[in-house]
Amino acid sequence: MHTTRGTTMADKSKRNIDPQVRVDRLREEHEQVVKGCDEQILHWKKVSGDYEALDDRLRTLPDHLSYDVMVPFGPLAFMPGKLVHTNEVTVLLGDNWFAKCSAKQAQKIVDHRVKYVKGELDDLLKTRKNFEARVGFTEDLKELSNKGSYVDIREEVRSRETVVTKGKQRVAHKPNSKPKLDTVLDLEEVEEEGKGVEADEEYCKILSEKELWARLDQLEKLEELQDEEDRLSDTGDTNGDDTTSSSSSEEEKEADCSQPEKEPGPKTSWATSSPANGQLVSQAAPGGDTTKDEDEQEEEEEDCLPTIYFSHTVEPKKVRICTGKNTTLKFSERKEHSLTHSKRKKKNNGTNGHSHHELHKITSPVDIYRLFVDVKNGEPVPRKSILKSRSRENSVCSDTSESSAADFDERRLVGRSVSHDDAPHSDTSDGHTEDDSPTALPRTPSRFEAFSGTVVEKDPMPTAVPHLTIAPPALPTILERKQEEGTTDAAPPVEPPKRVSKFKAGRQNR
């Protein structure tokens, strides 16, 4: 025990010495301990041998009554003597305690002591083994430190900041995003994704938590703002507000920017459906009223495209509807946008949105027709030709898609001027239909009326129905419309919304 303590002390005092020397010293100390153990073991072995001899003597001592022995007389002389009382022994128990006892009892005591000695020996052997192992280890250590063939594998623990911050970020986002889902799903998704990308990028750049949090706060504020906007737009939709349209259009624009990357799938699907539509139109075109209706629909759809982009402020609702219808058209670039728009409409407007929008737009197909006519330098005929140009060009003139696209761009340009002009034109030309869109705020019922007027034109719609049926109608949307119909008008208005609904249903399904 003493030796070990000594080693620790020595180690402490030699701390500032280089490791090699320290290892050597450690080994030395260990060896010393082992040596000490060996010595003690020897000592105890001797003791145990003595005890064995004593035990032997004690066993044979009482065999005779007396022994003739040479008694030591001082350090130099022996005297002949006689050993009597052979069965009477005085034992030194230790600490100056003596006990007089028989040889048998003495043997017991000897046994006891031998036991103790054995235990002591065992302990010593154990410690010696232990320290021998340590000596071996220190030898290995020495070898390791000496030779360069062994390399320490060390893995440094980086700060866990990144992981922690990630978790926090998510937590921060969730509460804000949830309430939004109710109002505007798509928009938020888009925004969130955009933000997510931004955040990721920034995340890479930002190292400190502070910055991260600041960024988060900023984003939250933005989200709140958008939330408000969305709410406004929602209320506006119910009321038929212009303001809503503006905000929604903006949102849509935002969505447009982000959307194209997201939805490549739907695009293709629509492309397949659109040609069919075009064929239908071309077939119907030569016919009478029915064909006219079809054309008008087509016109609406096609016309909507330009309006979407440029007439947001003037006739926001139209824009929306147009976008919805655009999807059916062949223009691939627009389709993506239209898809997103339509989706958003569905989510934004929920129950009431569809019918209102349709009312705005569809109020009277004729009106729309006129609008476009107006756009085309006032003459209805040229306008018609333009509208049909796409469908007919595709079928008859075999215009390439590129040309059509170019057409489209032109139209867009025209559309801008037209859209602004549109409002006044429509006002002058058509009483209620065009009035609706610009001033629409309080007048939901009037729109419905206007719609009822249009109903007559849409009666022929059934012709289109079979084509529409291709896309399985979404039941919930239809139900909603029916409710609206019940509130607004009896039979006639039902059809146009239905038609629209089927389109939308088709989109939804996709």
Binding site: L93, W97, F98, A99, Q105, I109, H112
Partner: protein, 126 residues
């Protein structure tokens, strides 16, 4: 300055040495106590082996004094108690001493550094 430091260092060193001596002394005392403890333990065990017929003696000076067995057992037990108490006392003492010596060592090392610095500077100046 260097000399003053040296003096201080020397005195500290002396103190430290004294302390080390004390530590080792109490250490050896403790070890003795330990040995006595084991011895007395053995005695106690062996006394337990005795029967009432056996006579027990205690060596006091040059004389063996006869003792009653029960009495002897009691005394041995008391002695054991005392030894245990002593051992604990020494344990505490040793701990305290070790603490002190540690502090002393730190002081010493700092002093040594100062001294080395001072001498180094002096050498540089010279």
């Amino acid at each position: 300055m260097a000399e003053a430091l040296q003096k201080k260092l020397q005195s500290e060193l002396e103190k430290y040495k004294q302390m080390q001596k004390d530590v080792s002394k109490s250490m050896s005392a403790r070890q003795k106590l330990e040995a006595q403890l084991t011895e007395n333990n053995i005695v106690k065990e062996e006394l337990d082996l005795m029967e009432s017929s056996n006579t027990v003696y205690k060596l006091i000076g040059p004389v063996l004094v006869k003792q009653d067995l029960e009495e002897a057992k009691a005394t041995v037990a008391k002695r054991l108690e005392y030894i245990n108490g002593e051992i604990q006392r020494y344990e505490a003492l040793l701990k305290e001493m070790e603490k002190k010596s540690e502090q002393h060592r730190e002081v010493l090392s700092s002093l040594q550094q100062e001294y080395q610095k001072a001498t180094g500077r002096a050498v540089a100046k010279v």
